[in-house]
């Protein structure tokens, strides 16, 4: 039984190695760069000619901008997130895992100002670790990633069980292992009780 569990443990680990490494990287990045600290400065700015049909609502303009620009891996801006600049230009933020494409609709000038705000590779990996197949509106590439991510998630849970089995089957009396297990459980238990 132990040899079978070991084989499954090894093969499952190899099959989801990249995802597991990304989980580790995501955790380290989250520790160093908590959610609020995202890049805000655009790396590039370009202008695209754009004419707004008369009497269009913000919602209709946003839909037309989305269709015109056809930005890769972008979703339509939800109605509740339609905003305006200080100059009352419609402001649309198209998010994807790489960053933001910020579009300002300059109606009088008949153009769109498109700013690109780029996330670093580390923030990209942090964001992509969270992709799930349940996100129905996700871009195709993200959905494909999410499918293997789902497998990695279940594999990680199974490792917790198979790893404990392999430890207890081989080295149940190893004191340092018990000490570190107690440290891990203790730290979580103490902090949980403090938070509650």
């Amino acid at each position: 039984m132990t040899w079978l569990i070991r084989k499954i443990h090894i093969y499952a680990g190899l099959l989801t190695f990249a995802q597991l490494m990304i989980y580790g990287i995501a955790g380290v990045v989250a520790a160093i760069y908590p959610g609020g600290e995202r890049p805000k400065t655009p790396q590039s700015v370009r202008y695209v000619p754009f004419a707004i049909p008369p009497s269009s609502s913000d919602k209709e303009v946003a839909a037309l901008v989305y269709k015109t620009l056809d930005l890769p891996m972008a979703r339509p801006v939800p109605d509740w997130y339609l905003r305006h600049t200080a100059e009352n230009h419609l402001l649309l933020d198209f998010y994807n895992v790489n960053g933001i494409r910020r579009v300002v609709v300059m109606e009088k000038e008949g153009r769109l100002r498109v700013e690109e705000i780029h996330n670093s590779l580390w923030l990209f990996l942090e964001d992509i670790h969270a992709a799930t197949p349940g996100d129905e509106g996700a871009p195709r590439l993200v959905h494909l990633w999410a499918c293997w991510n789902e497998l990695a998630m279940w594999t990680l849970l199974s490792f917790s069980v198979s790893g404990l089995w392999l430890w207890l089957a081989a080295r149940a009396l190893y004191g340092w292992a018990w000490a570190l297990l107690a440290a891990g459980i203790g730290a979580i238990a103490v902090l949980w009780s403090v938070f509650r």
């Binding site: 084989k7 580790g24 520790a31 494409r101 992509i128 990633w145 917790s160 080295r171 938070f195 509650r196």
Partner: protein
């Protein structure tokens, strides 16, 4: 295990030149990283399942509302918040303070609980709304709690723990793959699985990255 003897290196293939650290040492490191991380991995894993399959769980928080009198005319929202926290025995981090036409609105957060305070400067009344998550909701909040720059010390400690667990996961991966390589019996199928995983992962990540911005 094909230990290379001194002077033998130049006759070895690149594969045989992989440093042969003792397998037992690698296994010990793998074990220690694993047992330390396993409680947190179960927490992160279960909360990941909740986030991936939200409909399987009930994460509705319990909401408690109350009112309490404060001094009217308080001009400092943060001070007002601290007074409410001291009065009601609340703990956590002041996440935001916002001036409103009537007074102030603030949020105090701790993993699993959000306190929203609305203060009316004219009447001095403060309305406190506390949303307390259940077990699964708490797991979700702990999964998202991170960072090493918090005013609230327990949250800072949680950030440290999360960082250590993440480093342990990386250690598990490195030692795991090293051990697999030293164990020859799983090499053939293991290579196929690893190659499939890396090919899929690297291709998709590169394609996603290439779309910009």
């Amino acid at each position: 295990m094909g230990l290379a003897r001194r002077g033998h290196w130049r006759h070895c293939s690149p594969v045989e030149r992989v440093p042969v650290i003792q397998y037992p040492l690698l296994r010990t490191i793998h074990l220690l990283c694993g047992v330390f991380a396993v409680p947190a991995l179960l927490l992160y894993g279960l909360s990941a399942v909740q986030m991936a399959h939200n409909k399987w769980f009930n994460v509705k928080p319990t909401v408690i509302e109350m009112e309490m009198p404060l001094q009217p005319g308080l001009g400092d929202g943060r001070q007002m918040t601290q007074e409410v926290m001291a009065n009601r025995g609340l703990h956590g981090e002041i996440a935001s303070v916002r001036k409103t036409p009537a007074g102030f609105e603030s949020r105090v957060t701790v993993p699993g609980t959000v306190h929203e305070i609305r203060y009316d400067a004219v009447s001095g009344q403060a309305r406190l709304k506390s949303s307390v998550a259940g077990f699964i909701g708490m797991l979700n909040r702990l999964h998202h709690a991170a960072g090493l720059r918090h005013e609230y010390i327990p949250l800072q400690l949680w950030g440290v723990l999360g960082g250590l667990v993440s480093l342990s996961i990386l250690g598990l991966g490195v030692t795991g793959i090293w051990m697999w390589w030293l164990r020859k019996q799983e090499r053939k199928w293991g290579l196929l699985l690893l190659a499939a995983n890396l090919l899929y992962a690297i291709t998709l990540l590169a394609m996603m990255r290439a779309t910009g911005p």
